[in-house]
């Protein structure tokens, strides 16, 4: 009784081309759940208002973190489900993939959450997120006019991030099947 | 047949005639149907013995009909008159075993009971009806093979060998699953004397030769036996 033929059940969007439409959107949250930055490059489907969307995203990350912390099969002491975890505490996650997108997640020890949503077939983006975090430190934190905890309004930062993610798309289209070592080249 | 030879293209898949397809029944379809049969009967009863009896009754009705089918399908060459009764009976059981396993192969084994002359056992490693069924712990030794036992009883009874047929789980060493044994215990009047049967049969053949020729499906030992015992 074979139910599954060779065809894929979940259709995925076409593989990105070199035009750089690989990144869909990016979020930056601080530890209180305030959305500091939302960048959008390619998002044809919008069902919610941006405020609700951000809330939902933050909630999803929060719950997934408590899920992974509780599910962690390698540690015996896991605490209770739903108790808020400090950044770096418990087992966290770095990405998940659906048939239409891949979400890469990074949390800094200070509680800054970086979320990058890309094409489902992109490789490991942990280093790219680190690089974006580096950009955040350079262009936002070091900016004397920026008040921590408020939405980021920095043209320079936006531009650099846009450029980086676009470059990511180009690189990824070429190196989709290769090892993700290109990031180091870019970061240098 | 209508439309034979015309290669007609049907735009809609629903308009296409159902092909004859393979002359087989899907195992899944059978499993679901049987599952429904058990579930329906389970709703109608309040104890397990009653459920077993109802399943057996359902099987009995099938067995009664399937006997005719078996007679009809019997090969022409097997019309040997001098069949010993035992042989016939053995073959009889063999065929039933075949049918009971719903497959074109003989059951894993057909054994004669060692303790009693009138007991036979059909053993199946995995009875088809039980293929997907796990019996809940609270139902004890209940076996859905009761249905198959019913079929066997139906065939036997209608062939003139009244018998009590039961299905049992028998544990096998080193196996997770117990095998199922269908135990056939013939009633007293079922075990006929071989000599008298043989005599009867010769007589029957001489008298009714022309009749047999006309009804070819009766010309096998099986049909005759049925006729004999019924008359």
């Amino acid at each position: 009784m074979q139910f599954f033929g060779g065809t894929e059940i979940s259709p995925s969007p076409p593989v990105p081309t070199a035009s750089g439409n690989n990144g869909n959107m990016m979020y930056i949250f601080n530890r209180n759940g305030v959305c500091l930055l939302y960048r959008e490059w390619n998002r044809p489907l919008k069902t919610l208002s941006s405020q609700q969307d951000h809330k939902l995203m933050f909630g999803l990350l929060f719950s997934l973190k408590s899920l992974t912390a509780k599910m962690d099969p390698t540690s015996a002491e896991k605490g209770n489900l739903g108790v808020p975890q400090l950044p770096g505490q418990g087992c966290s996650f770095h990405s998940f993939r659906t048939n239409t997108y891949k979400l890469s997640f990074m949390e800094s020890p200070s509680g800054i959450k970086l979320i990058l949503v890309t094409h489902p077939r992109t490789g490991d983006l942990r280093d790219s997120l680190k690089y974006i975090y580096n950009l955040y430190v350079e262009y936002v934190v070091k900016n004397p006019l920026y008040t921590p905890g408020t939405p980021i309004r920095s043209e320079l930062f936006n531009k650099t991030v846009d450029q980086y993610v676009r470059g990511l798309g180009t690189e990824l289209a070429v190196m989709l099947c290769k090892k993700p070592s290109y990031v180091c080249v870019l970061a240098d | 047949m209508i439309g034979v030879g015309k290669a007609k293209q049907y735009a809609n898949v629903l308009d296409r005639p159902i092909g004859k397809g393979k002359q087989e029944v899907s195992l899944s379809a059978f499993a679901f149907l049987f599952s429904e049969l058990v579930q329906y009967n389970q709703l109608q009863v309040d104890n397990i013995a009653e459920l077993e009896r109802r399943l057996e009754d359902a099987g009995y009705a099938v067995g009664a009909r399937v006997l005719e089918l078996l007679c009809h399908r019997e090969k022409e060459g097997d019309t040997a008159i001098g069949y010993s009764f035992f042989h016939t009976q053995h073959r009889h059981c063999d065929m039933m075993a075949q049918w009971a396993s719903h497959r074109a192969r003989v059951a894993d084994s057909l054994e004669k009971g060692t303790e009693h002359e009138d007991e036979y056992m059909i053993s199946e490693k995995e009875l088809l009806v039980n293929r997907f069924i796990s019996i809940p712990k609270d139902m004890g030794a209940f076996n859905c093979g009761a249905f198959v036992a019913g079929i066997v009883r139906g065939v036997l009874d209608n062939a003139g060998f009244p018998a009590v047929v039961t299905a049992h789980f028998v544990p096998v060493d080193g196996q997770h699953r117990p095998r199922t044994t269908i135990l056939i215990k013939f009633a007293e009047e079922g075990t006929l004397d071989f000599q008298s049967l043989k005599k009867q049969r010769y007589r029957y053949c001489n008298e009714k030769q022309d009749w047999i020729n006309r009804r070819e499906n009766w010309s096998n030992g099986f049909g005759m036996l049925t006729y004999l015992l019924a008359s």
């Binding site: 869909n24 999803l60 996650f93 | 293929r131 069924i133 019996i135 699953r177």
Partner: protein, 141 residues
């Protein structure tokens, strides 16, 4: 070391109907596994809402620091997911095979009530065989 840590099956309303542990550290009690299952159910649904393009069916793979979670959702909404070592391959096939076993030994069993916890001996036996086979082939690789 076990490559596969645990297996969950949840029904279309998010209730845990089957849970099997294959050697995680620190056993989970029934309450925890039930809550995790329903949490996963809602996370799965939310992930569909956040998709940038239409046609999203929810999370297929979650990569955590210490484990990978592979999830397969049947068209009827029943979800199967395994928790395994990071980077374990061929889990999609295993999940589909488990789905096949589920359709055979659970759904065709007249004593199984739909959407209720699975207590089918045959399912467990064939599942154990499938997981064992997967383990052997993982070790061989």
């Amino acid at each position: 070391m076990a490559a596969i840590y645990s297996l969950y099956i949840i029904n279309k309303s998010g209730g845990l109907i089957f849970y099997k542990d294959y050697g995680s550290a620190g056993r989970m009690d029934t309450n925890d596994s039930l809550r995790l299952a329903s949490l996963w159910h809602s996370m799965h649904a939310i992930s569909q809402q956040l998709s940038p393009v239409s046609g999203c069916f929810g999370i297929e793979l979650l990569q955590a620091d210490t484990f990978d979670l592979h999830c397969f959702q049947s068209l009827t909404g029943t979800k199967f997911f395994v928790v395994c070592e990071p980077g374990t391959q061929h889990m999609e096939n295993l999940l589909k095979h488990i789905y096949e076993l589920y359709t055979d030994y659970v759904l065709k069993n007249p004593f199984y009530e739909m959407e209720m916890p699975i207590r089918c001996e045959l399912f467990e036996i064939s599942l154990a065989q499938a997981v064992q086979k997967e383990r052997v082939s993982l070790l061989g690789r």
